[in-house]
C-alpha cells in the first residue's frame, strides 16, 4: 500500500518536474546571479531594491514605463509615507477633465500610477529609432530566467566578435536573443549617486535594478512564501493525523 502511494507521489513529482512548456532558444545560457530573494525562503533586500528604484527613476524611466505600479506601492520597499508623497510630487500627472472640460496637470499623489515617459507606443517608437521600450512592470516574470536574465542583459554589452556585423542602430549583447538589441548600454559607472554611499558600478546598479524589478513583478513574493511555509507545516501535521486515523479505522480489517 505504502509502496503504491510512494509510486503515485513519484509520478506526480515526475509530471511536475517535466520540462516546462518552453522550447529551447539559441541564446547564450544565463549565468546564475546570487540574489537575496533566491531559494525557498529568500526575501527582498530592501536597501538594494530602493537603490534599484533610484536607478529606474534616474536611468530606465527615460524610456521604460511601469504602468502597473503606483507610487504608494513603494511603501512596501520601506519608504515612509512622507518619502512616497515627495517622490510622487516630483511628477506632473495629467488629470481631468475639470469643470471647464479641460485636461490639466497636477503634482502626483501616492495613489497615481507611475507616470509613463511617452503618451503612447507610437510616441515611444518615434523617440527610440523605431524600437518600442517594453513596460517593465512584470519584466522578470515575462522573460525566461527572470532577474538572472535582466542582470545578464544589463551587464552583457560588449564589442561584437569580428564575425558579427551589427546592424545600424543596434548594439551587441551577449545574452539578448539574437545578440542585437536596440537599447544601447544603459548603465555607465557612477551614473547615479547612491545616497547610502554604495559604489555605483555597472554590476551594482544592474544587481539593484534587477532586485527592484523582481519586487515590482512579484510584490507578493514574501507574503506568499511565508504563508506557504505555514500551510505546508500545517498540512504535514494534518497528513500525519489523517494517516493515524486511517490506520485506526482500518485496524480491524484484513486488507
Amino acid at each position: 500500500m505504502l509502496r503504491t502511494a510512494f509510486k503515485v507521489l513519484i509520478l506526480i513529482v515526475g509530471l511536475i518536474a517535466a520540462p516546462p512548456a518552453y522550447a529551447a532558444g539559441e541564446a547564450t545560457p544565463i549565468p546564475d546571479r546570487k540574489f537575496s530573494f533566491d531559494g525557498v525562503f529568500g526575501t527582498y533586500d530592501r536597501a538594494s531594491a530602493q537603490r534599484g528604484f533610484q536607478v529606474y527613476k534616474e536611468v530606465c524611466a527615460a524610456c521604460h514605463s511601469m504602468r502597473l505600479l503606483s507610487y504608494r506601492n513603494l511603501r512596501d520597499l520601506g519608504l515612509t509615507e512622507a518619502q512616497v508623497e515627495a517622490i510622487a510630487a516630483q511628477f506632473e500627472i495629467k488629470d481631468g477633465p475639470n469643470d471647464e472640460g479641460q485636461m490639466f496637470e497636477r503634482p502626483g499623489r501616492p495613489a497615481d500610477r507611475f507616470r509613463s515617459p511617452f503618451p503612447n507606443d507610437a510616441a515611444a517608437r518615434a523617440a527610440n529609432n523605431g524600437a518600442l521600450p517594453p513596460d517593465l512592470s512584470v519584466m522578470t516574470k515575462a522573460r525566461a530566467g527572470g532577474a538572472d536574465y535582466l542582470y545578464a542583459l544589463l551587464t552583457g554589452y560588449e564589442d561584437p566578435p569580428p564575425s558579427v556585423t551589427v546592424m545600424d542602430g543596434m548594439h551587441f549583447n551577449r545574452y539578448y536573443p539574437g545578440n542585437q538589441i536596440a537599447m544601447g548600454a544603459p548603465l555607465n559607472p557612477d551614473q547615479v549617486d547612491y545616497a547610502d554611499g554604495t559604489s555605483a558600478t555597472v554590476e551594482q546598479m544592474a544587481h539593484d535594478v534587477s532586485t527592484f524589478l523582481q519586487w515590482a513583478a512579484e510584490p507578493e513574493l514574501e507574503q506568499r512564501r511565508a504563508l506557504g511555509v505555514k500551510i505546508i507545516i500545517f498540512l504535514t501535521i494534518l497528513a500525519g493525523l489523517t494517516y493515524a486515523v486511517k490506520r485506526k479505522i482500518w485496524a480491524d480489517v484484513e486488507h
Partner: protein, 422 residues
C-alpha cells in the same frame, strides 16, 4: 414507485421531515455511507475524489476571479495584474486557479491511467468510462479557453493556432473558425465568448460528473484485482473506510498543490504570457500549456494539416471505443503478462510525447514524435485486439477476500472462465 411520503429511517425529526419529502439523506447514506466498496483499493483509487475536489476548487476560485476580471482585449491583461496586486488575497486566488488547472490535469491523467491499467473501462463499466472521456474533453476545452483569458502573448497565439486547426476541415472549416472567432481574427469578440464559455463549461462538467458518479454507483467500483466482489466479505462500507483513506490522499495532494502555488507558481507556465498580447509580434515558439503537449506533438508529427488535426482529435476519441478494442476478459493488468509491459510502454510513450511537444518541430524531434504517435495508436488498434486473442492470462484469484484472508489463486483450470459477464 408508489406515491406518498418516503419511509425514512432517520430518527431526527427535522432530518426525517425533509427525508420523507425528498430523500436526499437516504440517498447520501446509501451512496456515500453504506455504499459497498471493494476492500482492496490501493491509493490509485483516491484520484476520482481528488478530481472532484479540484473541480470544486476551480469553480470556487473562478467565481471570485470573475468578480474582478474584465473580458476586454484592452483591459484583460491589466485586470489580472490588478487581481495579483490590489485585490485582497487576489494573488492567492489567481495562483490557485492557475496551478489548479495543472493539478486537475495531473490528477485526471493518473485517474485515466488507473482506469486503463486495471481495465476499469470493461463491461459493465463502458458507459461510465465514456462519460469520463467526455469530462476529459470538456476539461480540455475549458482549460484552453481559460488560458486565453489573461490575454498574454501565448494566450493570443495559442488561441490563433488552435482555432485555426478547425479550418483544416473541408467545407465547414472556415465557418467553424469564424464562429469561434466571432469575426475574422482572434479579437475582442473571441475573448468575450471564450470568457462566457469558460464560465459555462465547468457547470456542464459538473453535470457530467454527476452522471459519471451515478453510473459508478450502478456498476460499483472496479478494484486492483479486476474481479467483481462476490459478497459482503469482499466489500467495506464507503464510510468510514474510504472516506478515511481518501482523506489521507487528499492531504498529501494538498501538500503538492501548495508547494506549487506558494513556491513555484509560474513554473508550469510560460514567460511569454506575461507579455500583453500583440497581434503584430509572433513569439519564436508557440507552445500550448504542458497538459496539451502530447496532442500537440501528435498534431505536428503529421506533415498534412488535416491529417494532423484528425489524428490529434482521434488520439482522444479513440478512448471512447477502448472497451471494444480490448476484448480480453481479464481486466487488471496484474494478470496480463503481455499487455502489462505494452501498457506501461504506452504510458512512457505518452510522457515522451509530452516532452517532445515542447521542442521545436524540427530534425530528430519530428522523428521521435512520429514514432511515438505510431505506437500511441498501434497500442489501441493492433496490440490490444491481438493480445485479447493471443495472451494467456495468469490465474485470477477466486475472490477479493480470498488472497487476503488466506488461500492462494485457483488452479489453472478454474481460470479459464475468469470473469463473469454482467
Amino acid at each position: 414507485m408508489s406515491i406518498g411520503l418516503y419511509k425514512s429511517e432517520f430518527s431526527n425529526p427535522v432530518v426525517r421531515w425533509i427525508d420523507q419529502r425528498l430523500p436526499v439523506f437516504t440517498m447520501m447514506q446509501k451512496e456515500y455511507g453504506t455504499f459497498p466498496t471493494p476492500r482492496n483499493f490501493n491509493y490509485f483509487w483516491n484520484f476520482g475524489a481528488l478530481a472532484m475536489i479540484t473541480l470544486m476548487i476551480m469553480i470556487a476560485t473562478g467565481i471570485f476571479l470573475s468578480m474582478h476580471y474584465v473580458a476586454n482585449t484592452h483591459l484583460a491583461f491589466d485586470s489580472i495584474e490588478r487581481i495579483m496586486r490590489d485585490v485582497n488575497a487576489g494573488w492567492l486566488i489567481r495562483y490557485v486557479h492557475m496551478n489548479g488547472a495543472s493539478m486537475f490535469f495531473i490528477v485526471v491523467y493518473i485517474h485515466i491511467f488507473r482506469g486503463m491499467y486495471y481495465g476499469s473501462y470493461k463491461a459493465p463499466r463502458e458507459l461510465l468510462w465514456m462519460l469520463g472521456v467526455t469530462i476529459f474533453l470538456l476539461m480540455m476545452a475549458t482549460a484552453f479557453m481559460g488560458y486565453v483569458l489573461p490575454w498574454g502573448q501565448m494566450s493570443f497565439w495559442g488561441a490563433t493556432v488552435i482555432t485555426n486547426l478547425f479550418s483544416a476541415f473541408p467545407v465547414v472549416g472556415n465557418f467553424i473558425v469564424e464562429l469561434l472567432w466571432g469575426g475574422f481574427s482572434v479579437d475582442n469578440a473571441t475573448l468575450n465568448r471564450f470568457f462566457s464559455l469558460h464560465y459555462l463549461l465547468p457547470f456542464v462538467i459538473l453535470g457530467v460528473v454527476f452522471l459519471h458518479v451515478a453510473a459508478l454507483h450502478i456498476t460499483g467500483s472496479n478494484n486492483p484485482l479486476g474481479i467483481e466482489p462476490k459478497g459482503p466479505q469482499d466489500t467495506l462500507p464507503f464510510h468510514p473506510y474510504y472516506t478515511a483513506k481518501d482523506s489521507v490522499g487528499l492531504v498529501v495532494y494538498f501538500i503538492v498543490f501548495a508547494g506549487l502555488v506558494f513556491f513555484a507558481p509560474n513554473y508550469l507556465g510560460h514567460a511569454d504570457n506575461y507579455i500583453p498580447a500583440n497581434p503584430l509580434v509572433t513569439p519564436p515558439h508557440i507552445v500550448p500549456e504542458w497538459y496539451f503537449l502530447p496532442y500537440y506533438a501528435i498534431l505536428r508529427a503529421v506533415p498534412d494539416k488535416l491529417g494532423g488535426v484528425l489524428l490529434m482529435f482521434g488520439s482522444i476519441l479513440i478512448w471512447f471505443v477502448l472497451p471494444w478494442l480490448d476484448r480480453s476478459p481479464v481486466r487488471s493488468m496484474r494478470f496480463r503478462p503481455l499487455a502489462r509491459p505494452f501498457f506501461l510502454l504506452w504510458a512512457v510513450n505518452f510522457l515522451v510525447l509530452l516532452w517532445v511537444g515542447a521542442k521545436p518541430a524540427e530534425g530528430t524531434y519530428v522523428l521521435i514524435a512520429q514514432i511515438c504517435t505510431a505506437y500511441y495508436f498501434a497500442y489501441f488498434l493492433v496490440v490490444l485486439p491481438l493480445l485479447a486473442r493471443l495472451e494467456r492470462p495468469l490465474p485470477l484469484p477466486e475472490s477479493i477476500s480470498r488472497p487476503v484472508l488466506g488461500g492462494g489463486p485457483l488452479p489453472m483450470g478454474a481460470a479459464a472462465k475468469p470473469m463473469e459477464k454482467a
